[in-house]
Subunit: 342 residues, 2 copies
DNA sequence: TTGTACGCGTTATCAA
DNA sequence: TTGATAACGCGTACAA
């Protein structure tokens, strides 16, 4: 049988052509290229020379098929344009890249059905999955768990499905924010709610509602997760006469900030604004945004770490929960006409 | 020979198991799954039933090997955290997704060597490549062209290598910006230069230098492409007594804006600031940023369109060149103490 | 240490 | 229309 598979001059250079050129078997070429088994130095030299001369590069696809792994991981996010996810992505690519893994990225555009499809398909193309703030229901996620494994969850927790979670203690972040605002004398807080499908939105809302009655008045306003959403809802805040805005995330806070500026409302003179996440822009707005800082790049690093552990040892590591750090900047100040309590 | 490859219960569901279950050959299953050749309706039904019951999903890797294409394209960018690239990425994923293609993304962190490696490796994993503002030299790019093809260039032009370019007319953008500033009476402009390896930075710089002598004084300051770079260089601008800042991009402009605010310098009262790109944040800063608007999402769409044409017909389409649109917002105003000329 | 031969899961060719 | 069989390119027991 023809074991060397020579091929015509123009044909792609395969392992067979290298073997032929070096006068060895394909198995030997494979061994040399992967540096695994011991090979006679002289043969190895010939192989390397031939490979270099021919410009041979092993087919990743063929390797994937033979090895049963692709060297790729996928990340699925609801919104590709959210800087929060971009930083997580950045941390993830860097960490995975060090282990020779590449990244497949998919954005679901906040569409649950698309998310489900993307996650399943991405998983089949990759060795593992990072599901970033998945919007699908818990049941659906649990139902797909077997098909998706191994995978890790960011900003989402579903016990018992064998997927480690990378969490942010939203409640703690909200508590710090509220404490800060109460200390400044604010009595009436407007929460600009994120997407209803967002687990972190529920966390934050629950934390706000969980406060002992009478500490402050809470105005809940449906909003969203983008600039435009925050921009659109700012007028409502004014109508509600809230003196402070707690935004679902920094993007929403920026939108509100921009609208308030258009209306000539002073921040923080008349209204204070707080965001969540601390995306890079937050410190450069005018005024700089007070926000709960989430270690986004670190989240990406840890996501890879957890996924890697799963890929290697198949034994899930425990969840991690990051506590956001309140970054007090210029967008918060004393409530108008209020006594400061501390 | 065993043509059905039954496999044990726990084993992955392959085409062979479906064939076995449906009592047909693997070839028939393949035909049914791909809906290509005509198959007896009854057999097709049996196959579909078996596939559904077993939860069969064709291996993308095996298909890739057999088909010679992966259904993936890669995008390589210098800076994953630049919203400009994120929007291009967004446009690209959406457009490619409609054709059933997924995206591999790689960020070179502004490192040329890494960029070269990433591009080559990404290409071998995918059917095509989008090189976004590649930092590598023209010679190097031309040298790799054969290995990288098919690919398209964004924000970069290298004639004769068979790669279509998606360009932005930076010179036109700069001309509009300068005309705007001159009309406002500015005489001394500071250009905050981007990375030296950036082609678009050279374009912008050339356009500035190309102005007839005497129209204005140009102060060139080395800067970079990020917030931090712009933030750090703002003091220098003041020392140079420029009345207007032309930033390499919006990010740099934001950084400068932030620093000026910290210093109590009024924008645009004392200094005007102009960006480039018009990333989503630009309209929400305080003051909103005057900038040259680049259709980023459209750039991503067109990148896919060009790449797709290459993948299908192998005949490169002509380059496209987008003309930025000057968005005059609040960050520019009359030069201090100057007469307005129009 | 080296080579043979088979498996990875799919599609494509060609007879039947 | 269907099925056997050969690719696709590589890794790897197993034998030599």
């Amino acid at each position: 049988m023809d074991t060397s598979r020579p091929g015509r001059p123009g044909a792609p250079v395969t392992i067979g052509r290298v073997a032929e050129a070096a006068g060895v078997s394909r198995a030997t070429v494979s061994r040399v290229m992967n540096g695994l088994a011991s090979v006679d130095p002289e043969l190895a030299g010939r192989v390397r020379e031939a490979a270099a001369r021919l410009g041979y590069e092993p087919s990743t696809v063929a390797r994937s098929l033979a090895l049963g792994r692709t060297g790729m991981v996928a990340i699925v996010v609801p919104d590709l344009e959210n800087p929060m996810f971009q930083r997580v992505l950045h941390g993830l690519t860097d960490a995975a890249g060090e282990r020779g893994h590449r990244l497949l990225v998919a954005g679901s555009n906040e569409d649950v059905r698309e998310e489900v499809v993307l996650a399943a398909e991405a998983r089949r193309r990759c060795d593992g999955l990072v599901l970033c703030a998945p919007r699908m229901g818990t049941g659906q996620l649990a139902g797909m768990a077997a098909k998706l494994a191994p995978f890790v969850l960011v900003n989402r927790e579903v016990p018992g499905i064998g997927a480690p979670s990378l969490l942010v203690d939203h409640a703690a972040g909200i508590r710090d924010i509220v404490a800060h605002l109460l200390a400044l004398g604010h009595q009436r807080l407007a929460y600009l709610a994120g997407p209803p499908t967002s687990a972190s939105n529920r966390d934050r809302l629950d934390a706000l509602r969980g406060y002992p009655a009478g500490r402050f008045e809470l105005v809940e306003l449906e909003c969203g997760a983008t600039f435009a959403d925050g921009h659109a809802v700012a007028d409502q805040v004014l109508r509600e006469r809230a003196t402070a805005i707690v935004a679902y995330n920094d993007l929403v806070a920026f939108g509100a900030l921009g609208r308030l500026h258009e209306l000539g409302v002073e921040v923080p003179g008349q209204v204070s604004v707080v965001g969540f996440d601390d995306i890079p822009f937050a410190r450069y707005t005018t005024p700089p945004l007070t926000t709960a800082s989430v270690p986004q790049v670190e989240l990406g690093h840890q996501a890879w770490h957890r996924l890697w552990a799963l890929l290697e040892r198949r034994t899930p590591e425990p969840d991690v929960r990051f506590t956001p750090r309140l970054e007090v900047r210029g967008s918060t100040g004393p409530a108008p006409g209020a006594l400061r309590y501390m």
